[in-house]
Symmetry: C2
Subunit: 260 residues, 2 copies
């Protein structure tokens, strides 16, 4: 077995630069941290370039690594690649996964989540995870949304980043119009919306439009949607957390899509 690479090794240093969004974007590479993420990444053909592993983790997780290219690193080198407080010994160097919006829409999705300017990595990751669970066909990160490959986003998806297509579209209005052009009804999730979620017709192909966690959806963007839909607030809370609201909307739609 070769000697594990140290944190000062040039390859490890190069991989470490992927903690910066600019470097991730330029190289179209990112790091997936921990056995669950690595396992999910390995299910996507052509995604994983190599897996950095400590000798201990390699032994422990030999099964899930299968035929992957493994680079042995020491504990310190691994910790320098991980954003976890207690790194689990495996980090995969992965190629970006995002699909062109057009291709996502060509597959006739029935349920789509469009995030416009969702900035918090945990929220974005949680929306991706919930979209996966609710059976959404894809997630669109639109506008100034957080990078899908931010380490915290990747971790919050708990593997779902590798389960469904993610499209990136700098202009949320383009995403809304493209979805409508493909026959999806676009519903803006908006606390001030005129339609109550539980009165809304969710039976057809539906794209949900979710806004920023602090300021919601800009009026001109929400106006492009077919309807503005509000989750009813029964108590005295002012609003719901963004990813919580997304879950309630996505699951209400999944329920309406069930065969009867």
């Amino acid at each position: 077995m070769s000697t594990p690479l140290a944190a000062s090794n040039a390859r490890v240093k190069e991989a470490r630069k992927l903690s910066r969004r600019s470097v991730r974007t330029e190289r179209r590479l990112f790091l997936a941290d921990g056995p669950k993420a690595v396992e999910a990444a390995l299910t996507v053909e052509g995604c994983v370039v190599e897996v950095f592993a400590t000798p201990t983790a390699l032994e422990q997780h030999a099964d899930l690594l299968g035929g992957a290219a493994v680079t042995l690193v020491d504990e310190r080198a691994l910790a320098s690649l991980s954003d976890s407080v207690s790194p689990a010994g495996l980090v995969a160097l992965c190629r970006h996964l995002d699909a062109p919006l057009d291709r996502v829409l060509e597959s006739s999705p029935r349920l789509l989540a469009i995030c416009a300017d969702v900035r918090d990595p945990g929220n974005a990751g949680n929306v991706i995870r919930t979209s996966d669970a609710a059976g959404a066909d894809a997630v669109v990160l639109a506008g100034q949304s957080v990078d899908a490959y931010n380490p915290k986003t990747v971790r919050s998806t708990v593997g779902s980043l590798f389960h469904l297509p993610i499209a990136v579209e700098p202009d949320p209005a383009v995403a809304v119009r493209a979805a409508q052009g493909r026959g999806l009804t676009v519903l803006a999730a908006d606390g001030a919306g005129e339609v109550d979620l539980f009165d809304a017709d969710l039976s057809g192909p539906t794209a949900w439009l979710f806004g920023n966690e602090a300021w919601g959806l800009p009026d001109e963007l929400a106006a492009l949607a077919d309807h503005r839909v509000a989750i009813p607030i029964h108590g005295r809370a002012e609003s719901l957390n963004l990813s919580t609201a997304a879950a309630v909307c996505l699951y209400a739609t999944a329920r309406a899509h069930r065969p009867r």
Copy 2:
């Protein structure tokens, strides 16, 4: 106007000790940080002992402070009481709010959330916020759940901590049996549950039992519930985030409780 107290002042130092759970529990006091939390705290009679405010914040928020007892502190003293990265100049010293479980149940609740061993402050706070929004009558923090007065929990509730009764019960089984004794159907949220959420009868008085974010509900506790209910997973996600799952369950129940 009196001179603002410094961080070294004895009263400020005493208040600062409330960052420790043991001190909060012993004194039955806690700190609520920021204008929104302070405003919500002031709506609860007898809750606020005093409000620590910087001279700037006092001027800016004079309206919401009304007749509250205000103690002027300097910026450093305020920052030492706040757990926020950018403190907003107001921190309220509050009395504990939790109500005895019996009293909560005497009010014939129709929707209740029982958290068993929910450990993450953000998750617990988000469950309290969502419970408020979904119209739940109370939240029970049971077992080894996080302290409701943890600064992160308080912040994550976005004021809802002050909107609905919170009961604390060290033994989750006692909470389950007490709810059943009052005619509530107890539903254990459990990914391996035998009833699909969207097939479940949620029309009567319902108590949801939510487990720990990592290991869920212990079998012997879930077995005490009337049914184990699973949120259907349509995609390849393994599970949902705890507070996300709670939101989907609570809102499905709120929907079933609506007059038709």
